[in-house]
Symmetry: C2
Subunit: 117 residues, 2 copies
């Protein structure tokens, strides 16, 4: 966080520059996080692993709340934030599942066409 | 994002480690962002600047969508994310305003007590 030494307009502008830099980092981290969760989704689908893991989720929430406390961030907000992200991950996984189902339909259809006498 | 070379359990564990590292970075960035927005709120209150700035918000949204596109993150999600954060910032600012009002009440009350003959 940068401050601008007395002049309120300069100070506001310096703070906004910090906010914009942080937002750039947040977008990059979120993009990388979704790459990871996409890979997890594909891995679980390939190896028929259960999609949900309540123990892992409980550990993640407890850890995030602790990290938040150390960073002086409201732990309730950190938990809300994780739930917000997880909802998006589920939306992605549902979209992947729909795509897979659509591909399976097309495959079944062309198999049926090829099987015609 | 790290992958675990063939063994699905090792691969899942490696991906989860990446997710946990990213979450640590996200919490740190969020904590710093709220420090900045808190400073903005205090600055605006001190210098009687207007609390909302629709032009700034529109520029922030447009920029974040562009950053998201470059990082292969869904721009709609990036915008939802910014709105989620802004709602929390507003909640903080309202809490600061309530605190200020409460302090003003206490100040008025003790001034009244001291003003007694």
């Amino acid at each position: 966080m940068a401050a601008g030494g007395g002049d309120p307009v300069a100070e506001l502008s310096a703070l906004r520059q910090s906010i914009d830099n942080i937002d750039m980092a947040l977008v990059a981290m979120l993009a990388e996080r979704f790459r990871c969760t996409k890979a997890v989704g594909e891995l679980k689908a390939r190896y028929k692993m259960p999609p949900a893991d309540p123990d892992r989720e409980a550990r993640q929430i407890a850890r995030l709340r602790e990290l938040a406390r150390n960073a002086r961030l409201d732990p309730d907000f950190a938990e809300k934030f994780l739930n917000f992200i997880i909802r998006e991950v589920i939306r992605h996984h549902e979209a992947i599942a729909r795509d897979d189902a659509a591909h399976a339909d097309v495959a079944r259809e062309s198999a049926a066409v090829e099987a015609r006498p």
